[in-house]
Amino acid sequence: MLLVEKLTKSFSQRQAVSSVSFQIEKGEVIGFLGQNGAGKSTTLRMICGAIEPDQGDARIAGYSIVRHRRQAQRLIGYLPEGAPLYPDMRVTEFLNFMADCHQLQGSARQSAIDRVITDTRLSSALGQTIATLSKGFKRRVGLAGALLHDPPALILDEPLDGLDPIQRSAVKTLISTMAPDKAVLISTHNLDDIPAMCSRTIIIDHGRIIADETPDALARRGAGSLETAFAELVSETARVTH
């Protein structure tokens, strides 16, 4: 469903992402792990077309984000880091704007809007302007926008950031419910979220992939602890690169 091929990006002098490749099938939920500045967001932004890769490509259901941008982007739901939104808009206005952008019309449009309102539990905030919402609500509005056109590929950059424990578990449940029909890529730096949500973990460090395995296999490296395994892997690459 999602094929990432040798994505590479550098900013001025710094190589942010070097030849990152992986593949996600329908039904998989991938936890994309890495320290701050490891290249997580840059990779996700390239997959969605928010920035253009220097080299490499990402294919969504066969459509290249570089050469068939529009077709590929129709199949992606993207929640950017920090869930940026228009503060002056009301929640319903934002969802209608997203529906316009995806050219949803007629009854399909209304049912899509109703579906995401239910799924992300937004019904109590519909008439509010986004500026007045709490951080958790804003994140859910961003998520609702990403889910609106029911995309087969979901790319979520820190979707659980700023949510309280109850909201976190609600979003995790939502993601698990949707997972069978979608390829999901979730970046996080919170290892606690991984076991309940993800079928596979990919770890990125200094712009390179250093591990791609199931959470269980990863935990075994750290004697049962994901945290230990992660810390060891990251320090290992630090030794190799310096």
């Binding site: 928010a50 077709q71 982007q73 002056d88 808009m89 952008c101």
Partner: protein, 254 residues
């Protein structure tokens, strides 16, 4: 390219709708319209001494337009793209299956709509001059049309400059400066100086690009196709330039 035009137009409409509602959801449109009307009134009736002149035309009124637009159009356009960058929503826009040219055009059209609303609100003065005396309504109609075309070109400058920065304040100041230069390029004081320093050819070229050169014939009631073409091309060019800047940032992000 099949299906490109509907795609472009749908995005234009989407961006226009969203942007117009932002103008009126925030106080910006209301403040703009109120201060614009106040300023035009003040300059026309007070400073130019409309009633003392004793002629039933709106020449004094239109004469001020380029100079007022230097400040008012950058104020309307300053946040068109700088806000998207500041809020990070440019990231969202860039990830959506929409036409970038359509987004740029829709936003510009929205600002142009608000500018048009400002002009429409001055229409009562047209009625007043008709009441006061024998008025050449053709001249006034042409002047209104060309003033609105010129406003679009000023907004084109503002939109392009706004794509350069995430600060709407910086966008405003730079747009005012650029707008002033392109207006004053046709100003006799400036062209005489360019003439004496660089020769008549350059001063002729510079003044050909001035908004004044293409706006002032309208005040004599002359509607020249080439002036309309000038403003339309200028707007088209600014849409293209804005698009290039946004695409550049997608390749070379900060």
């Amino acid at each position: 390219m099949k299906g490109y035009l509907p795609y472009l137009l749908t995005t234009t409409a989407t961006a226009w709708k969203r942007e117009v509602s932002t103008y009126f959801a925030t106080p910006l449109a209301y403040i703009f319209l109120a201060i614009f009307l106040l300023s035009v009134g003040l300059f026309t009736w007070d400073i130019s001494g409309f009633f003392e002149a004793g002629t039933a035309d709106l020449n004094a009124f239109f004469g001020w337009h380029p100079w007022l637009y230097i400040f008012f159009m950058p104020a309307l356009a300053m946040r068109l793209w700088s806000d998207e960058k500041l809020l990070g929503t440019i990231e969202l826009l860039n990830s959506l299956p929409v036409s970038l040219s359509g987004l740029v055009a829709g936003k510009l059209l929205a600002a142009w709509t608000v500018a048009g609303a400002g002009l429409v609100m001055t229409l009562p003065w047209w009625i007043i001059v008709n009441y006061l005396g024998d008025t050449d309504n053709g001249v006034i109609a042409v002047s209104y049309l060309m003033s609105w075309m010129m406003a679009g070109a000023f907004l084109g400058i503002g939109s392009t400059v706004s794509a350069l920065t995430s600060s709407s304040a910086i966008a405003f100041v730079l747009s005012v400066a650029a707008s002033f230069l392109i207006t004053a390029a046709g100003w006799p004081i400036l062209s005489v100086n360019i003439d004496s320093v660089f020769g008549p050819t350059l001063s002729e070229i510079v003044s050909q690009f001035s908004f004044m050169t293409h706006f002032s014939p309208a005040q004599r009631g002359v509607v020249e196709l080439r002036n309309i073409i000038f403003f339309v091309s200028f707007i088209g060019l600014s849409i293209f330039a804005t698009r290039l800047l946004i695409e550049y940032r997608r390749r070379v992000p900060k």
